[in-house]
Amino acid sequence: MSQSFDEISAQLRRRHRKSARLKWVSMGALGLAGLFLVLFFADMLVKGLPAFQQAQIQVQVDYSERAAELPLAAVQEDVRPLVSRGYLRLIPGRMEDNPELLGTTRMEWVMADAEVDQYLKGHHTRLSANQQAVVDRLKADGRAELRFNTTFFTSGDSKMPELSGIASAAMGTVMTLLVTLAVSFPIGVMTAVYLEEFAPDNRFTQLIEININNLAAIPSILFGLLGLAIFINFFGVPRSSPLVGGLTLALMTLPVIIISTRTALRSVPDAIRHAAFGVGCSRWQVVRDHVLPLALPGIMTGSIIGLAQAMGETAPLIIVGMVAFIPDVTASFSDAATVLPAQIFTWAGEPERAFVEKTSGGILVLLAVLITLNATAVVLRKKFERRW
């Protein structure tokens, strides 16, 4: 006779405890992953949000003859180290542009030095005790405050933290991604159309398929080596240019676009193809007029995701030289440029404390754009998702 329920239940107690343990441990693992994410974003926000503010101080600017020669003389000695050198350097130029300034003395809000900025934000600073006292006095008089940092969005890279911004890198990113998209989108869609709609199922087609899956998993830095050896050294594409960066990223983005386009094409039911063939369309007409329009949302989603990936990519761009120091915003495909992730990389290597803030600020901008792109892709997919 077999055991009673109670006997079995008693034996099972230990096993049930173990079972519950797996549930809690696995839930903890997921929680841990989530915790990483929260910690990471919190850390970036705490470090990066101050970058969107910049200290300004109100000082007396003396547009004297001497200041035209020696800009340092334009402000009084006690506040001189507190004013951004970048601002002082502009004074002679402004006096040339506006001759009526000569000989006047004005109270002006000017950009403060990065050290003042750090001091006002409560970070470690290299200001001397005296200088700190001056800043405290200015602050008490309402002559020093943190304002929204427009420079961060309008200027290019600089050796002075308070003058550096992401504008040139953002422009470089736009130019590079334009090249990437212009190359990888048509080739990717054409490849996918060929493989899904035209190609015979033979060895060669299988080879292409395996190859595409493989390309998707090759380390990105190897694409950089390809860009260096083939595009720059062989074809003579200018180093550091958005052209070479874009081409390199295009080859990396290609598999993403091909794979997502194929999925989109495959989700178009055969009934539609058969119907179109039935009214006498040729294969290309079927694809162009019926299949592609239906697959378009899926293709767009995949392309956006591929573009977002390319946008965050750094390693291959370093290899092709896109870590240049670019102080001015230029829109050219062949001149040296940098991109946002590369700018982040450059700033991360700067020793000044103020650059940590700039780096984190740049990261926040990059993450915001990436999240927007990915959210767009998700919305697009949700909106056009169709069940046949």
Binding site: S2, S4, F5, I8, S9, Q11, L12, R15, H16
Partner: protein
């Protein structure tokens, strides 16, 4: 229905054993808003084969899964009523469904051997339940279960090969061997031969006939000839209701209800 109280068969099969195994009273089951079982009353007797027949979607498989609480795996299911085994309501809060399933084994429609060797497919559960610990005991249990399932001669030389390497009929017998290795009281079979060829089906039917010496078998079948061949008692389900529960011979020769007669004579189904 006259001459018998709720849950008892209309006509008694005098050759059958009549010790009670499972007593079901006023069992109702809902999938979300849809009611799948209505007021089921049935007494299942020990060491018999009870066949559940009826058209697709009539609730026979759902009913079978109430007996070992496999319906717990579906979140939207709600159950009311009594399913009693060994004087205990299997649905009561303190009933451990794992303990219940140890006493109520199950064989599924499609053979589902584990991704393990033939030997481990059988030894796995008894080892976990501490039924065996020494190697010699385990070997003996594996051999006995495979012999009881009529598979020993075919697999004794390849016990370490994966269970999936067997043919469909062999896999199903492996699953039966796996179920009897834990020595349950009841074995539920959910259309155990529907995925098999006629020869494998015949083998399994013979096997069921042997196994009823040791176990209470409740089987769902689509195949009325099979019910007629192997079962002692047959229950006919229709639209979630138990229409008729009767001695198999009477059920197929002289059913008490019109619906059962229509179904058996093939008027619908």
């Amino acid at each position: 229905m006259t001459g018998h109280s709720a849950g008892e068969p209309v006509t008694r099969n005098e050759q059958a054993n009549h010790e009670l195994s499972v007593r079901v009273r006023d069992l109702n089951l809902w999938y979300g808003e849809t009611q799948a079982l209505r007021d089921i009353n049935i007494d299942v007797y020990q060491k018999n084969i009870t066949a559940l027949i009826g058209p697709s979607g009539c609730g026979k498989s759902t009913f079978l899964r109430c007996l070992n609480r496999m319906n717990d795996l579906i979140p939207s299911v709600r159950i009311a009523g009594l399913v009693e085994m060994d004087s205990r309501d299997v649905n009561e809060a303190k009933m451990d469904e794992v303990a219940l399933r140890r006493r109520v084994g199950m064989v599924f429609q499609k053979p589902n051997p584990f991704p393990k060797s033939i030997y481990d497919n059988i030894a796995y559960a008894p080892r976990m339940h501490d039924l065996v610990s020494r190697k010699a005991d385990t070997d003996e249990l594996v051999e006995r279960s495979l012999r009881d399932a009529g598979l020993w001669e075919e697999v004794k030389d390849k016990l370490q090969e994966p269970g999936t390497s067997l043919s469909g009929g062999q896999q199903q017998r492996l699953c039966i061997a796996r179920a009897i290795a834990v020595q349950p009281d009841v074995i539920l079979m959910d259309e155990p031969t529907s995925a098999l060829d006629p020869i494998s089906t015949a083998t399994i039917e013979d096997l069921m006939d042997k196994l009823k010496q040791q176990f209470t078998i409740i089987t769902v079948t689509h195949n009325m000839q099979q019910a007629a061949r192997v079962a002692d008692y047959t229950a006919f389900f229709h639209l979630g209701e138990l229409v008729e529960y009767n001695d198999t011979q009477t059920m197929f020769s002289n059913p008490a209800t019109k619906k059962a007669e229509d179904y058996i004579t093939g008027r619908y189904g």
